[in-house]
Amino acid sequence: MNRADLETMAQREVQRQQTFRCRILCCASTPCLSSGGSAVHDAIKDAIKEGGFDADFQAVATGCMGPCSRGPMITVQTSGGEDVIYEHVTPEASRQIVAHHAAASPAPVEYILPGDIPFFAKQKKVVLANSGFIDPERLEDYVARGGYTALGYALREMTPETVCREIIDSGLRGRGGAGYPTGLKWDMVRKARGDRKYVVANGDEGDPGAYMDRTLMESDPHRLLEGMAIAGYAVGADQGFLYVRGEYPIAAKRLERAIRAAERRGLLGSRVLDSNFNFRVDVRIGAGAFVCGEETALMASIMGMRGQPVPRPPYPAQSGLWEKPTLINNVETLGSIAPIIQHGAAWFAEIGTAKSKGTKIFALAGKVDTTGLIEVPMGITLREIVYDIGGGIPDGLDFKAAQTGGPSGGCIPAAHLDTPMDYESLRALGSIMGSGGLIIMDERSCMVDVAKFFMEFCMDESCGKCVPCRVGTVQMHHLLERITTGSATAQDLETLQDLCVMVKETSLCGLGQSAPNPVLSTIHYFLEEYMAHIRDHQCLAGVCTLDQAPITELALV
């Protein structure tokens, strides 16, 4: 296939779609499936068949539409009309919906979710532009929306150097958490010497409370593959690995299928789009280890070893997989590549703030009215996310804190609700952008307990290689446990803080270096809560048991 064939394929698919008067898009992403999405999809297909609307109506299983707590979601596209979005759809309701669009019978208004609510209006879809609109299992759907044209353009009109330049100019930064400029990383791998080079897409999304990467992989797998192929061309790699978290079997399956479909059409494999560029992609399934999100541990895992990190330098860009130069990018980062090539670096750099360009996907969860997956321009304030997009805190309670960055991040208190969400601002508050988990907490959450929750996570996920992380996390967890059970002394808080700083500075990899962040951040903003536990044996949120006393008080009894 060449670029002209691609164009033909796109036109044919667009024409095909236009023959339908009404396209009913059913979300087949994990959250909607869990709330009964497949029954809804079946009911719609049945209703279309029974009504004899086969020629006019098309039912499409798509990726995520966003407001997961309102699922199952469906979107109805009518020729000439506006899209109509329905929430909490039941099989019964879906029959009504089909009937309504077929015969203009009354619309089941109680299921309609207005398309202009802030949840949608405040978002900006770049990476997720196709999500919810295409069938992720059909290559044609992706191509019809301009898919693979960016790859074709890069291969024909650009040199590897100009591709790297374009990514540098776009200001794109790694979406996995640290925010390293993506273009610079590419350029480093491009310049590195090696007879073979590799591209790795990091889809080992381990943060509890985050599912951006899974959604992207499930909803628009080809976009990721296209991003990988462009990256491969830019750095001179002919092999890519897609490391998918083991908990995401649907994503892995869809990606495998997408790879096969793309290879069949000559969009991956040998002589991509009739050029001299060869690029193969293999899926590797993770097996449950948070530390594998760290790039050197991830590479160990791809090579079939225990997922233990190794000290850097050398960086993967010089010596990665099998000691060859290796480019590792987060899935969301690679998802931004095709739009940048397609619309240009300047277009991308227009979105966001001075130092944080583009959009960021967040998994908004916890105590907000509407939870789900959102894509917003960098620099939007936390308040807009919580109160406009999320619809505020339910049950008339007050916002207490937002947790970003998962076990590596920190908590942002109400006083900083107007902070713009960008790399620098979040870091200044002692948190990090992280991969995009955003958990909102109300007054019923105890911040000491939250810190303990994350520390327990890090303790379980520590690989055990370096001493500060392996033993330090256990000791920090112990100290937090003492605070929440009431057996801590004021001395313990000091010991805890000391230990946090040491573990942060001496651990071998990012997991250990950031494990103390949730503790340090909660101590910083909620010291009074810690003190209330230790001094007054009181948990204001009513979470902790506090049923024990310090050992030194035993003798006094």
Binding site: I551, T552, L554, A555
Partner: protein, 177 residues
């Protein structure tokens, strides 16, 4: 010359540190000139006195009696020294920490040889859930490791304490074990 009020105490340990203390031999005579021994297992004093200058504490904190005495010592001493590995680390007595207290008593007294205490009396003090080093229970001013610390170590440490100086031991003088 005002003599320093000096004490030694024996918590959960084997008394080996006190034996080593006695190995100071003729130095004990020098020491006797500088201190007044106000409390010690080798002196017949029942109550830990007030206003003690320096107390050496041998042994780990294993039971409620140990804990009470440790707190009394802290309240009534100017300087408290962890004397020997049991006080410093928990050492051999802490080997029982991997067992629960109930399992431990059953193993030792019911399944072990000889007659076992019937319980319910006030003879055996209540065991703490875990044997602890002294500094995890009270504030400790100096540490004198060793099992036992040999007489030379003890002499260097005690000399410093008597001179009102901080205890500084050479690396080879501060090994555990």
């Amino acid at each position: 010359m005002n003599k320093l009020r000096f004490a030694t105490a024996w918590l959960g340990g084997c008394s080996g540190c006190h034996m080593s203390f006695l190995d100071l031999d003729e130095k004990l005579i020098d020491l006797a000139e500088k201190i007044e021994l106000v409390y010690s297992p080798i002196a017949d004093v029942k109550e830990f006195p007030e206003g003690v200058d320096v107390t050496l504490v041998e042994g780990a904190v294993a039971n409620l009696d140990n804990l009470r005495l440790a707190q009394e010592i802290r309240a009534r001493s100017r300087l408290v020294v962890s004397f020997g590995d049991c006080a410093v680390t928990g050492n051999v007595p802490s080997l029982r920490n991997k067992l629960g207290v109930d399992d431990l008593l059953t193993a030792v007294y019911h399944e072990g040889p000889g007659r076992h205490p019937t319980g319910g009396d006030a003879i055996m003090p209540r065991l703490l859930p875990k044997v602890l080093p002294l500094h995890q229970v009270i504030k400790v001013d100096a540490f004198l490791p060793g099992c036992p610390p040999d007489a030379e170590r003890i002499w260097i440490a005690v000399s410093a304490l008597l001179a009102g100086e901080p205890v500084v031991l050479e690396p080879s003088m501060r090994t555990f074990g």
